[in-house]
Amino acid sequence: MALQMPNSLKPETPDVTLRRDDRGPFLTPVGRVRMSNAADAKPQPASMPQRLAVDVRNVSLTFETSDGKVDALSNVSLEVAEGEFVSFIGPSGCGKTTMLRVVADLQQPTSGTLLVNGVSAEQARLERGYGYVFQAPALFPWRTIENNIKLPLEVMGFSDSEQRERAARYLALVNLTGFERKFPWQLSGGMQQRVSIARALSFDPALLLMDEPFGALDEIVRDHLNEQLLQLWDKTGKTVLFVTHSIPEAVFLSTRIVVMSPRPGRIIDIIDCDFPRDRSLETRETPEFLKIAQRVRTGLRAGHSYDE
């Protein structure tokens, strides 16, 4: 129970404030244009650095299946501050994807309360407060790459010129300039996943939900995309919730790692991942990195994740 205590508000999370100072100059290319939604139009006071992006309290979710009830989430509590990069790790069936879907209002909790960007999950969805990246790119095959990125913008009613400008900007952000007129099948899996990340960022949501986005890719591509994602996060200052199966990936990317365990799906450990943010792939060989990876592994073992 003690492990479920929120610790994002503890004073010893200097990386959040530190990073805010850091990313000032990088913020301009992406952060300036906000959505025209009423909720977004409100100026966000800089004096609230610790506004919670996600606030989950005692959330439970039970599925009714033909084999009986399944406790996908059992009494889960978690607070994520703005600008954090939080990874969820655990074996299949531990509820990490369900957690993300609950935050995204793709599934409704059976009990408990949930605030996303300070409002209910449904309200956050209606305000287009988050971008979602799935395990598969899920691009629309009949649309060119450019038009795939424009799709959420079309849905949200951005002007034509705004759509064009944003598509170009976010394609550049994921290093895919020049592929505008291609169709999805003409791109490799890693490139397609980058397009889907650009699509999720295109309407500039404050929160990015990523459900094993690199799970289907080979390790070389995955390493490369991990580095790019980290740079992207530094540039944009989004809050990221990231589901993964990979310990090195979680440690490499996160400010905090949430270790989960199945039957019932619950949080068994929250690990601060507080070594410096200027991480490169070589960081993975350092003692600090290995120490945190070891702690994640211990947490997974304590949750009987290896007992299958």
Partner: protein, 308 residues
């Protein structure tokens, strides 16, 4: 010089075999030639008794070659020879002005207009029914059994009823035929489009939900484009069925024009050559219509980035 001259016949035959035109059309041509050969043999066998009786009735001496020649040129054979059919076909297509009542072009045009109107009506009805079925469980349960039942009743039994009922309310000529044609061809479109409208990936539907797209947007930006391949597959089936429907509709009405009327008149007067040339006309018409649908499918496919 001598070497290449010697080598020529071998490489010549080889390159001929590999010529793209030969490679593409040789299998089809072989089948066609085989069918024509079988047809000629069947012509001789089936008309033999008829021709022999003719010779014996007139008490003229005959040889085997006389007999065989006779089977190929009988005026009212049981089975006309291919060249007779082709001759009658070209004569009735090119031998008369297109508006003359003996011109196959005229009759084909009459049937074609009923086919196209019926096809359009059937396509609209088919898509409308599919939309209703996809959007409402209640409609699915109440409509689908009737839709399936409608296709179990033989159209030959229904067609006269349709004609009489529609005639009683003052509908004559083109429209009743088109309605029968539509009645036959809506079915594959409904089935195909139900499949097509439910084809989108759950992830794509979830994405639309995360962008809080309206049902109308989900329909226009996801369901319709996903259904396009299914639409063309069912249109190809439907267009040939609607031609059959139009021809069948001409049979019980005693229509004075149309391919069906030609078939009926041919069978009244034992004009087998006329029947076969009318059949040939309907085959040509059907292939033309299917080719047209195929062409539009290719054009649309190119727009939608279909993998070549």
């Amino acid at each position: 010089m001598t070497n290449s001259a010697l080598a020529f016949p071998v490489s010549g035959a080889d390159s001929l075999r590999r010529h793209p035109l030969v490679a593409r059309y040789a299998p089809v041509a072989t089948i066609v030639l085989a069918l024509i050969a079988i047809w000629y043999v069947a012509t001789v066998l089936m008309n033999l008794a008829l021709v022999r009786d003719g010779f014996e009735r007139e008490e003229t001496p005959y040889t085997v070659s006389d007999l065989i020649e006779g089977t190929m040129s009988a005026e009212r054979p049981l089975l006309p020879a291919p060249h007779q059919v082709v001759a009658a076909f070209t004569d009735s297509v090119f031998g008369y002005p297109p508006t003359a009542p003996r011109s196959l072009v005229y009759h084909s045009a009459v049937t074609l207009s009923a086919t196209l109107l019926g096809f359009a009506l059937g396509a609209l009805l088919g898509v409308a029914l599919a939309l209703m079925i996809v959007h409402s469980r209640v409609l699915e349960r109440s409509l689908l059994p009737w839709i399936i039942c409608s296709q179990m009743v033989p159209i030959l039994a229904l067609a006269p009823i349709f004609i009489v009922v529609l005639g009683a309310i003052g509908l004559h000529g083109l429209l009743p035929k088109s309605i029968i044609s539509a009645y036959l061809c809506f079915f594959p479109i409904t089935i195909g489009m139900v499949k097509g409208f439910t084809a989108p990936d759950p992830m794509q539907l979830d994405l639309m939900r995360t962008w809080s797209a309206t049902p109308r947007q989900v329909s226009s930006k996801l369901r319709w484009p996903s259904a396009v391949p299914y639409l063309f597959a069912s249109l190809k089936v439907a267009i040939s069925i609607s031609l059959i429907g139009a021809i069948v509709a001409e049979l019980p009405t005693g229509a004075e024009a149309g391919i069906g009327a030609r078939l009926l008149a041919g069978s009244y007067y034992g004009q087998t050559v006329q029947i076969w040339s009318a059949l040939l006309a309907s085959a040509v018409l059907a292939s033309g219509l299917i080719a047209l649908v195929g062409l539009s499918e290719r054009i649309v496919g190119r727009q939608m980035g279909t993998r070549p």
